[in-house]
Symmetry: C2
Subunit: 417 residues, 2 copies
């Protein structure tokens, strides 16, 4: 592939090769070159000389069933928002006809976006979740999808009957996922307030039996954190409510969304146990949750990626998540805590690619051996009268790209757009 190639090696360095060659061999990156080495001369060439080529973006946290009400109903904080809007919408996915219509739109929009990998919440409904996975499998997006578990503090119309039944249905769902190549199951206890101890115990058994990853929510909202304290009196912190069931890193690959208010001890456990933080700046803004101290997390060596968190976040665009991550970190610095510096453009580009990509293995960079996920961006519609270098063009794209600017997308070596 020929183009203006941009990728991260580390969180503070974007590598740029203007008019370079990016070689894909056996679905993997085989290097970035200014001159094409002789041995690749007979490979087919995709010529994107005028365009930007970046690694596929990674969305570490997105609620597919909430896509219908993106951009609406953000006048409440987390718990009230869940009860007033979110649970009502998610309950509709019991009806497969509705799920078909809704997930068709979600997956089609995801396909047109710059996202190549996504870690997705479904609903409690097994069949609707499989329908979502069918659709993602078909378009070629890679990802993890979770049938949600919740058996307490949830409305009657969106609550699993009991822990035992929840576990049985969840295991049926896990077995039904065997057929997929691109999408894999991820255990998804919604969050501590909505899961009984018994449910956690049973999910922990399934986690070990099938060696599954886990996703959930952590320390997002001050009221939520207080509630978890009340619900789990024996725990050291919110994170511990997952850790006590071995669903917090170590042998269990784990993504925790938000971590806006994780204390020192919680952060240190996440670091030691390799828990991924899904930073969702637009969501944390729209629900007035706050701003996670991401620069600090990076300094401490935590694993961090970005999430759109539809529908608390309004946009599926991980470019928008990058811009918002910078913007929110600036307001956090100015309004709240000058000890944590704002994020840079280089850092958020890293978070959206290699940072989140690490959850999938060697994903999110063009370094040798990385899976070949690439997005081609045509930025000529963002007009300018002066000369711009590739770095400047990339920065503009982060702030201003729309779906129309995404002109080609490759996942694991295969062109899907």
């Amino acid at each position: 592939m020929k183009g203006n190639i941009c990728y991260s090696k580390s969180s503070n360095e974007i590598c740029i090769v203007e008019n370079g060659y990016l070689v894909c061999e056996d679905k993997k990156c085989a290097g970035v070159y200014t001159e094409l080495p002789e041995q690749y001369e007979f490979f087919p060439l995709f010529d994107y000389s005028e365009q930007l080529v970046v690694p596929g973006l990674v969305d570490l946290h997105v609620h597919a069933p909430q896509y219908p009400f993106r951009g609406m109903a953000m006048n409440l904080e987390l718990i009230d928002w869940l009860n007033a809007y979110t649970f009502v919408e998610e309950a509709k996915y019991k009806d497969l006809e509705y799920a078909e219509k809704a997930y068709e739109i979600f997956v089609d929009d995801l396909k047109k976006s710059a996202t190549t990998r996504a870690v997705v919440f479904g609903t409690i409904h097994k069949d609707a979740t499989l329908l979502l996975m069918d659709k993602m499998e078909k378009v070629g997006i890679k990802g993890f999808v979770g049938k949600v578990n919740m058996d307490r503090n949830s409305p009657d119309y969106l609550c699993e009957e009991n822990a035992e039944k929840a576990a049985i249905i969840t295991e049926e769902w896990i077995n039904a996922c065997e057929k997929y190549e691109n999408v894999k199951p991820i255990l998804t206890p919604r969050f501590t307030p909505s899961c009984t101890d018994e449910l956690f115990e049973k999910l922990s058994v399934l986690q070990k039996k099938y060696n599954l990853p886990v996703q959930s929510h952590l320390s997002e909202n001050l009221g939520e954190i207080e509630w978890v304290k009340e619900l789990c009196p024996g725990t050291k912190n919110y994170g511990d409510s997952y850790d006590r069931y071995d669903m917090f890193g170590n042998d269990c690959p784990t993504i925790m969304a938000h971590c806006v208010y994780s204390g020192e001890e919680e952060v240190e456990t996440m670091r030691k146990q390799g828990v991924f933080v899904a930073h969702c700046p637009e969501s944390n803004t729209n629900l007035s949750s706050g701003v996670a101290p991401v620069k600090d997390y990076l300094k401490k060596g935590l694993k961090v990626g970005l999430g759109s968190d539809i529908a608390a976040g309004s946009s599926l665009s991980i470019f928008k998540a990058m811009a918002m991550a910078v913007q929110c970190s600036k307001l956090r610095w100015r309004l709240f805590d000058q000890s944590v510096e704002p994020l840079t453009v280089d850092e958020v580009f890293y978070l959206a690619t290699k940072g989140g990509g690490e959850f999938f293995g060697k994903v999110g960079s063009f370094e040798e051996g990385y899976e070949f996920d690439a997005v081609v961006i045509e930025d000529a519609t963002i007009r300018h009268p002066q000369e711009l270098n590739v770095k400047e063009r990339l920065e503009r794209v982060i702030y201003l790209a729309e779906d129309k600017n995404i002109v080609a997308k490759f996942v694991n070596g295969k062109k899907i757009l």
Copy 2:
């Protein structure tokens, strides 16, 4: 015009007439009706039955010459950002060939946006500013445009020779503006740090002689405010540095951009003297300036509108400014000061239409007698599986509209897009 009509009467109420009629008579709104009154039956009908129809949006603060570097170079705070990037770019407009290329892009993008009225900064260059005005006049956007004045604390390459010459050239420019119908001149001392007392005096004379409005910047950044204190030892506050030359409301219609840190006394003067605040949330975020307490300003009865503030703001979209105004007010509330509530969707819609529109007279609403500025929005690309009411559709548009969704635009009764 037939469509789903949305407009503000006050800051806390969006009026919605589903499938209604909006009548234009002699360039003015003649009412919104659920059934078309008999006397209008033979008027030509624009049928936008499926679409949303809203008042044209008002951008109270935008730097046209900074458009080329939108979305880039936002790693510094105000004063350093001006010196490192902004002044360097603005100096290029001495070259009319560059100005031609750059302003062509700016005005064309402005035309495609939902903005019908704009209050614009040019550069210190008379000819380039007239070129910008020619272009705005031609496409039919209404607005005020200012040739910038600055004669101190500015780099040699972007500094007027002295106050006297500045005033002579400014008066030549004012006289050259007589030919315009749509765009009018507005006096534009850049901000207090870049204008000598002598320059302010001479501009004040021109203001009174030609009865011109004034635009400038106020209380944007903490370092800037300290600097103004040093530069103007006799003044009560930053606002007073304009007020002492009668360029702060009363008989001089005035827009002050930002007002992030206006103190009680400054705010009270603005209220009494009817100074407009141009609230620029994206700019104040990108330059780490802070967040203006807009809810408080509204409660106190200040006149407030929104500004894109290109290029400290990356986007020309006033829809984006609305969303950011809500978002930034939520973070201000959460991180800094719970005594000032977040803004609502209804309030930011008001700010972007009737709030800012008031600077132009009866502009920004569909109430009877208002100038007929209307924008038609096709939101079918924002797909959804469920029924949505008009209010929900409007809210989504505020968060998610792109230029492609703007399908028609009328300014003062004339269709310009």
